[in-house]
Amino acid sequence: MATVIDKAKREGLEARDAQRARSSRRYLGLLTGAAVVTFLLIVGIIGTILIKGLPSINWAFLSDLPREGMTAGGIWPMIRGSLLLMFGTMLVVLPVGVLGGIYMAEYAGESRFVGLIRSSLVSLAATPSIVYGLFGLAVFVLAWKLGTSLMAGWLTLALFSLPVVIITTESAIRAVPESLVEGGLALGLSKGQTIRKIVLPNAASGIATGIVLSTGRAAGEAPPILLTAGIYYSTGQLEMNLETLRKPVANLPYHLAEGYRQGGVIPESIIWGTCVVLMGLVLLINLGAILVRARSRARSLQS
């Protein structure tokens, strides 16, 4: 017994469905438009900076010292300072962050206190960098009497990247298959040996990605360096001795942050060029880390 729908009612329903399909298409159009605007905005800004900055970049710009009050010459001391800050930060954060991550993943358990630590870590990871700058100023620069120095900058930036490093290390360790760990324990390895010989090698690429990503971000952050380690510019040669650790260091973000205060003394072309160098430095590091992560993910899917 088929239900009989009279003609008028059927036409009404069809009209409604057509209306729904039309409005659905309209909104899809709107959404696509919004997505396009979003990507255009982002790509537009990055593109403009590239177009403005790329022409002034050449080997001399990258390798020379600034000349004539920074109206000419290159930005090598700032690049050198940024690299120095980044590698030092990595050295400081590597042992502390990895040990913290191992503890959180393998030994901490699930008590309320650990839950509290875990949520504070997440919140600290999202805390503005300038708050870390203030902390570094109060503790490292003044209380520990390090002064405005490379050392204080390392410690502050390390602190800034520490929460992210601990969180990513923990999740990299948790991603190691349980069967591998059990295999190790079944062969009579102690827990420490299992972690050293089985868990860490398997989690290494994930841990490395976390460290590189977070120090890359730290290297681009101006506020903590502003408060703890920076000087505006440097024209001198770098002396490689312990004294260097106690001296402030010139670096790209600070150079840019101060550049605008000189009220047009520095030609725009140099500012844009410096922008591109800083952006390129950070993006290259991030891109490298993301590619490593993608590759190791693909590999673990295959096995």
Binding site: T32, A35, Y103, T127, I130, F135, G220, L278
Partner: protein, 267 residues
């Protein structure tokens, strides 16, 4: 060795909190009331920038995320997602210069009475800056909505837009709200872009064409001069920093609570 790891974590939390308490609470009581009144223009400046940035970034970011997660070709999504992550790492100083040298002249050519340093330019650039973050996080939230819900909707004869609006977005709402809050907290803490673009005039105003000063810009301004340790200016840095920390910390906790509630619904 392992104790060292946890000690660091603990030291980080305890000292971080107690130092703020110490510097803002006990040492500085006589002028505390004064500073409290003084901070309002800074908070207003921060709010102005944040609201402006949110108005730009949240709708656009959500729409782009819906497009990415519901409509875009999976291959396109696999390419765009890492691009978004990389772009979220562009140093903020760079955005600041873009605002100062491009957005501000543009605004001034449209509205002649816009000042050289103005809140609007800062808000726009912070908005664009947090766009990749909003898009990426909202995309994650939408992706976490179980497929079965969508298929159920489609099986009932809904069009894909109806499924998105009436099923996917409500289901992912707490994740989306968490993404919004994290983005707003990033905008509150944003330093260099607003220092460069929005100026350093603490002013209680809602007029985006004027120069204002945010909490972060104030910290940069004061700390650039050689402020002697223990002086009044030095201590205001920490008072302002503590307020900033409290605001962002609160927002981050709120986001975490929302995500937690959201997880419980579907586990």
């Amino acid at each position: 060795m392992f104790i060292l790891g946890t000690e660091t974590v603990r030291f980080f939390q305890l000292s971080g909190v107690s130092v703020w308490d110490f510097l803002t609470g006990t040492k500085w009581t006589p002028t505390f009331a004064d500073a409290h009144f003084g901070i309002l223009p800074l908070v207003a400046g921060t709010a102005l920038i944040t609201v402006g940035a949110a108005v730009i970034a949240l709708p656009l970011g959500l729409a782009a995320a819906v497009f990415l997660s519901e409509y875009a070709d999976p291959r396109l999504r696999r390419i765009l997602k890492p691009v978004l992550e990389v772009l979220a790492g562009v140093p903020t100083v760079v955005y600041g210069f873009f605002a100062l040298l491009h957005i501000t002249p543009l605004l001034r050519s449209i509205f002649p009475d816009v000042q050289v340093f103005n809140a609007a330019s800062g808000a726009i650039v912070v908005g664009v800056m947090i766009l990749p973050l909003v898009t990426s996080l909202c995309d994650d939230a939408l992706n976490a909505v179980p497929r079965a819900l969508r298929e159920g909707g489609l099986a009932m004869g809904s069009t894909s837009y109806e499924v998105t609006r009436q099923i996917v977005i409500p289901a992912g709402l707490s994740g989306i709200m968490a993404a919004f809050i994290l983005a707003v907290s990033r905008a509150v803490g944003e330093t260099m872009a607003v220092t460069l673009a929005a100026g350093s005039t603490p002013k209680l105003t809602w007029n985006p064409t004027e120069s204002i000063q945010t909490m972060t810009a104030y910290i940069v301004q004061i700390s650039k001069g050689d402020t002697p340790a223990g002086s009044r200016e030095y201590l205001t840095l920490f008072a302002v920093g503590a307020v900033l920390f409290a605001i962002t910390f609160g927002l981050n906790i709120l986001a975490k609570v929302l995500v937690k509630r959201y997880r419980m619904v579907y586990s």
